[in-house]
Amino acid sequence: MSDNATQPKLDLVVIGNGMAGVRVIEDLLEAAPERYSITVFGAEPHASYNRIMLSPVLAGDKDFAEIETHGREWYVDNDIALYTGEAVVEIDRRRRMVVSESGREIGYDRLLLATGSTPFILPVPGHTLDGVISFRDIGDVHRMVEASEKGGKAVVIGGGLLGLEAGYGLHKRGMDVTIVHLMDTLMERQLDPTAADLLQYSLTQRGLSFRMGAKTAAILGDEAGRVTGLRFDDADDSEIDADIVVMAVGIRPNVELAKTAGLHCEKGIVVNDTMQTYDPRIYAVGECVEHRHSVYGLVAPLWDQASVCANHLAYRGHTQYEGSVTATQLKVTGIDVYSAGDFSDAEGSETLTFSDVRRGVYKRIVLRDDRIVGVVLYGDTRDGGWYFKLMREGADVSAFRDLLLFGQAYLPGAEPVDAEAA
């Protein structure tokens, strides 16, 4: 690697001041601090914060200051031009310029799209009523906190990770919460039915209510345009009262800007293994991208992508992003749930389970060819990180398979690993 300090700096523009964009900048500053002159646009009015910690903020376990990751001084210290509350509305690839909603035009040599994703809103009647809230950013959290101050009933549509965290947060803030879920078990993409049942039991014990296998027909409102309830698509068109309705039914990658600029998009902005879009000057990372047909909504892949992207931007040769195995951890105080990989009973897979109902512990490890391909942990997630590491490394576990369920404490040879998930 040659020293580039004497070369003139290139202009890098980053669209999106979320975790992905900022992580690329961090990695890049580390790898090639003098190569780029960097400009960042963020649509939100804040400097960067840790989005995965929104749930603890909602639950009142943390406040916003605690989850802020990069204050404005960080940008200043690193010579980064930061424009917050200013969305980019156009990419002019011919001129290599971006245009913001205020009309600001900034030229680039390299462009990084880190536009993230938008919550999906069910297009049911009433979805635009006042009191229908998504759970995506700090603004949503503020709206929910405000609504909860009056008490009352909250309905959360979506029994996935975010829905449960939202429901739990609102419950802790004194609301009467019902989780409405289309499927029969919670977090079905992350949990097997056993763990999901344990989870539902625990949450019920804590005071949450559930409507499982329930499809929403409409959100009901009053004349003032305020939410009053929900109607289900069932035999007797049953209804439930609600003072707020939180939609947590998934996310959509933000691809509009890229699409408009003529970049190839499918579910997300399509990138190659060096995180480049179809325009090699334009990179994309995070929840807005689609890589090898996968779109990720968790933080760990984002770190992997950022590292590869920064490396490439730094001219440090070709590291490649080959996709991520992902892990999930539910952030509900006192309920430890961890899940990673594929835990379905697919052909060729072998399942190890552990259960201790009295202690509320359940573990499921799925192996294929002596390698971990999936993990579900409930009640005791201490070894989640260790399993995840073994899974990512594709480690052959046959030598200690009999002790695998009992965790790392039984295998003194292995290095300790901190739990790592989003």
Binding site: L352, T353, F354, S355, D356, V357, R358, D402, F406
Partner: protein, 892 residues
């Protein structure tokens, strides 16, 4: 209440150790009696654990008739009536007693008297037939009487001790420790072990001759020829013939060839024997249990007679007995082949006159194996079995089982509610057990010791002599059985030994014939013969009427010509040779910490922990040839039956041979009664069965899964069809079951709940399942305590050690950290796992010893003993500790 100490005698092997039993409130403890001449305070692991065995669990406490509890009157009337009726219809030879070396001399005496003097048949035989009768017959041929001429002291005085067919270190540990201690003090003393197996005893020997099974006569004839050739001569009768016969075997090369031992080893042994005047040759079941058992005994005696090594300090042949009172039984005449008090049937008139009995047996009765054959044929229609478990201990034991099933009337006196034999009785008579009984026993060196009761008789139990006398009275023989105490019986027994005995019988208890009851109660250990009562009184202690330690010091023998006889013996192989179909020679025997059929030793967790499972020892080449792996289960089969036992592959087992212990039975294992496999070939002279050689085969037991269960309560696994192999191992506060099955159950969870008896779905249940790997683990908890756990894996080696889990059964709740790792089967820190037990006396486990060796740099057994106490009591684990030290040093 203050602690009360009672001097009594250990009920295990024939060493006959003195024991001090201490009862302090309800707590019983035992220690060796330093005043007893046989053990001088030492005890082995079994003796040390005696206090563990006095509990009442499993005891037979009430008479039972046809499966129902009955009164003594009903039970005794039934026995008397059925015996009386069958005798009346079919004659006295249609009934039999099968008794035991576990009986006290007084019990034995009245049983023998009832059968031979009142019923009028000699159909009383004893389990001593299975272990000692070849020695009896050999002694009679050589000496004219069944007499052991030496004493234990001779083993210490001797410059050479030869142990033949005896795993003394395990089977007679205190005698072995006396030998070892003497030899440690004098490096010129030598120990030779002759045994096809490299046993713990052989490990400590200067020379080990791993002879081919059944070649003892070849070896000792070779020795006799060698001695004669080197100028040793004798003018005793039979010398010429014996030496001539011995010469036929040929020179040392030929002997080595015949015995399958290398020439130099044989030569070294012959030379050592020839040059060492003070030689004691100890022989035991390895010699006796043979179809040529009597000839083997005489082959040994011949060498001692030729060299005149008998009746001298440190020089004699020495038969050591297996049972606590085998000698006492021989003395009263409890074998069907003798009449009474070392008299044969030629003395029938004299004995009848002494007894004043209505009848007398005038010819030998049926010997053990013949007896059960006669029962099976229906010739013997009623049998009374006392204090023994023939369905386990007899050869061809399944035939014995069929015989009892077919028998018209079976009475069993026992102290246990369930044994393989008890379970087939029509009438059960609850007998007092060791701690409750009072009487005398005789050990291998002719020392008569008092066994004294120190616990009350529980429930309805009674002394065996009392039961026998009561039946005799109900049969109309009140006159001969009007005994009110064991002392009274003993006096009569002593009187019979002295009756018209002008020196022609060495067995003479003249000095004890008029003991008062209190003298009997306080009788100190005394060695027969005992001639002068006055001297005994005057001494008030160990009677020294004359030095009875050694007999035949004057070379006068109780034969017609007053001389000892050499007996020409011709070597011959076992009755049934190995074949293509049955290519291996099956040998059976004891292990260190179990006794007979485990009715007692299985009550002691620390004894059961030494070797928890029945096993087969296999030479590595045979293991390879027959596809059995160390730690796996194998099917050992003979033409008569099969057993499923754990494989131990060891170079200590001679190639072409197998060893299976004799102890396990249907109460403790699904299928491990080795008696069912043993051929019923017997020595034509002694009638002793050939337990040491049955042609056999070995094959893998194709278990689909292996596992174990630990449970706080006993389980009924015999009823579980999903379990094809099980062994029950009693623990301190739990029962351990080693299990295996030929087919994998469809639903492990359901199956496991059935095994553990957990019906309710809401039970606190932990489970770890790896179906693809064939692993299943579960535990049943209750209020924080562990109730039971089960571990299953496709291979035995894939199961965790049992010891850590076993230690959770403390009666205390299992703490959370232990609970988390419970199904891992071990603590997260491997250092906390003590591993399997090595020292039973102090409960010191393998890993504890290994860690101490490592951390403290211990380099000797003594150093380990210093640090951990391990091996410092009975010393029988010393070879294992030495092996652990060697193993550690090899690793470094």
């Amino acid at each position: 209440m203050n602690a009360v100490t009672t001097r009594t005698t250990c009920p295990y092997c024939g060493v006959g150790c003195g024991v001090n039993a201490v009862v302090d409130n309800d707590a019983v403890s035992v220690a060796g009696d330093s005043a007893h001449p046989s053990n001088l305070g030492s005890l082995c692991s079994k003796g040390t654990a005696l206090a563990d065995t006095v509990g009442l669990q499993g005891r037979l406490l009430h008479p039972v008739v046809d499966g129902r509890r009955a009164s003594w009157d009903d039970a005794l009337d039934e026995v008397a009536a059925r015996f009386g009726q069958i005798i009346a219809e079919h004659g006295p030879d249609a009934v039999a007693f099968y008794v035991s070396g576990q009986l006290l001399t007084e019990d034995y005496y009245v049983a023998n008297k009832l059968m031979k003097g009142y019923i009028g048949s000699a159909n009383i035989d004893t389990n001593s037939r299975l272990c000692m009768s070849s020695a009896v017959a050999g002694h009679k041929r050589a000496f004219g009487e069944d007499v052991v001429p030496g004493c234990y002291e001779d083993l210490e005085v001797a410059d050479l001790v030869v142990l033949v067919g005896s795993n003394t270190a395990w089977c007679h540990p205190v005698v072995y420790q006396r030998i070892v201690a003497a030899q440690e003090n004098d490096p010129n003393k030598k120990l030779v072990v002759i045994d096809p197996r490299r046993t713990a005893t052989a490990e400590g020997a200067d020379l080990h001759l791993p002879i081919a099974p059944g070649t003892d006569v070849h070896l000792f004839n070779g020795l006799l020829g060698y001695l004669a050739e080197n100028g040793v001569a004798s003018d005793l009768p039979g010398t010429q013939d014996a030496v001539a016969e011995a010469h036929k075997i040929g020179d040392i090369d030929a002997v080595a060839e015949a015995c399958g031992v290398d020439r130099d080893t044989v030569a070294a042994f012959f030379e050592l024997f020839a040059q060492t005047e003070r030689t004691v040759t100890v022989f035991s079941q390895g010699v006796n249990q043979s179809s040529a058992g009597t000839d083997k005994v005489n082959a040994i005696l011949n060498c001692h007679l030729l060299t005149d090594r008998i009746g001298k300090p440190g020089a004699c042949p020495f038969s050591i007995t297996g049972q606590p009172n085998a000698m006492g039984g021989r003395e009263v005449g409890g074998l069907s082949s003798t009449l009474a008090a070392h008299m044969g049937f030629d003395a029938a008139e004299r004995v009848q006159r002494f007894w004043g009995s209505p009848a007398i047996a005038d010819e030998p009765g049926l010997k053990a194996v013949e007896l059960f054959e006669a029962i099976e044929r229906g010739e013997v229609k009623a049998v009374w079995i006392m204090a023994t478990n023939p369905l386990v201990s007899l050869p061809h034991a399944d035939r014995a089982k069929r015989a009892l099933e077919a028998c018209e009337f079976v009475a069993v006196s026992d102290c246990m509610r369930h044994t393989d034999t008890v379970d087939r009785a029509h009438v059960l008579l609850p007998a007092a057990a060791w701690a409750e009984k009072s009487g005398t026993v005789t050990n291998s060196e002719r020392v008569i010791s008092r066994q004294r009761s120190f616990l009350p008789m529980p429930g309805d139990t009674r002394a065996d002599w009392d039961i026998i006398c009561d039946v005799a009275r109900r049969m109309g023989f009140a006159d001969g059985f009007d005994f009110d105490s064991a002392a009274a019986i003993f006096r009569e027994h002593a009187a019979l030994t002295a009756f018209e005995n002008d020196g022609e019988r060495v067995l003479n208890l003249a000095g004890l014939t008029d003991l008062t009851d209190s003298e009997y109660d306080t009788l100190k250990p005394v060695r027969w013969p005992i001639f002068a009562p006055q001297t005994l009184r005057a001494a008030g202690a160990m009677p020294v009427a004359q030095d009875s330690r050694r007999l035949f010091t004057d070379s006068v023998y109780p034969t017609r010509d007053g001389q000892a006889h050499l007996v020409a013996v011709t070597p011959r192989g076992p009755a049934n040779a190995v074949s293509n179909e049955w290519p291996l020679a099956l040998n059976t025997g004891r292990i260190r910490d179990h006794w007979h059929t485990m009715t007692r030793t299985a009550k002691s967790a620390r004894l059961a922990a030494h070797i928890p499972e029945p096993f087969v020892e296999v030479h590595p080449e045979d293991a390879k040839r027959y596809g059995v792996a160390d730690g796996a289960i194998a099917t050992v089969s003979t033409a008569l039956g099969e057993a499923h036992v754990r494989v131990i592959v060891t170079a200590g087992q001679r190639e072409g041979t197998l060893f299976v212990p004799m102890h396990w039975n249907d109460q403790f294992a699904a299928r491990a009664r080795v008696g069912a496999l043993a051929n019923p070939a017997v020595c034509p002279i002694s009638g002793e069965p050939e337990f040491k050689h049955t042609p056999a085969a070995i094959a893998p037991f194709d278990a689909a899964w292996h596992g174990f269960i630990l449970a706080s309560r006993p389980l009924q696994l015999a009823a579980e069809s999903s379990i094809d192999y099980w062994v029950k191992v009693p623990g301190e506060r739990f029962y351990r079951y080693e299990i295996a099955g030929l087919t994998t159950p469809d639903a492990w969870a359901t199956t496991a709940r059935s095994w553990l008896g957990v019906g309710e779905r809401t039970a606190d249940w932990l489970e770890a399942v790896d179906s693809a790997a064939g692993r299943y683990r579960a535990a049943h908890m209750d209020a924080g305590h562990i109730e039971a756990c089960v571990f299953v894996a496709p291979e035995p080696a894939a199961l965790p050690e049992r010891s850590w889990l076993a230690n959770l059964f403390t009666g205390e709740p299992v703490d959370e950290t232990e609970r988390i790792g419970l199904l891992a089967g071990r603590p997260a820190d491997p250092g906390a796992d003590p591993g399997p037990q090595v020292c039973s006396c102090f409960g010191v486990a393998r890993n504890t010893i290994l860690r101490a060796i490592d951390e403290q740099g211990l380099d000797s057994v003594a150093a380990v003993g210093e640090a951990l106490e391990a091996g410092t009591n009975c010393g029988s684990c010393k070879p294992e500790i030495a092996a652990l030290i060697a193993e550690t040093q090899a690793d470094e």
